[in-house]
Symmetry: C2
Subunit: 93 residues, 2 copies
């Protein structure tokens, strides 16, 4: 296993969390782009599950001291804003 000296865990943790957040963002964009299509009934369930998973990863990284809680909160808040924009758009459809 790479020793602590080589792997900068805080940096890598943040990069992994941002990449995971990006995947969720893509899921949201796909839904946004396909609003005219019949909505996959499970997409909210899928997004909720992914958001829960990411929140647990962020909580874990914060408890490990790898990222600051505020940084984790910003990652989630950004996604929550995108999610509510998607939700509003689907209601207006």
């Amino acid at each position: 296993m790479a020793s602590d000296m080589i792997v900068n865990h805080p940096e890598k943790a943040l990069a992994l969390l941002q990449a995971d957040a990006e995947k969720i963002l893509k899921l949201i964009k796909v839904q946004m782009d396909n609003l005219t299509m019949p909505q996959c009934p499970l997409y909210e369930e899928v997004l909720d599950t992914q958001m829960f998973g990411l929140s647990r990863e962020i909580d874990f990284a914060v408890r490990l001291g790898l990222i600051e809680a505020i940084v984790g909160k910003e990652i989630l808040d950004k996604l929550e804003r995108e999610l509510s924009a998607l939700h509003d758009a689907s209601l207006r459809k």
Copy 2:
């Protein structure tokens, strides 16, 4: 933020994961001890959600190189065995 030098991230990560696994184990034991009581209908849902959360933490720790995949798998497998024992016991009730 504590620099990598002071915090042994691999050790702390494993300790956090084992502590989280222990919490789920306690949930399972509570159910096991209360089998005669009417089963809370949501307990399987709660346990599934907790297991999913833990699996995402483990996956994150493995991707970060903080624990070996096999170690993470053992943590989950142990809980899965306890869960199926609980499930069997509740069926025999």
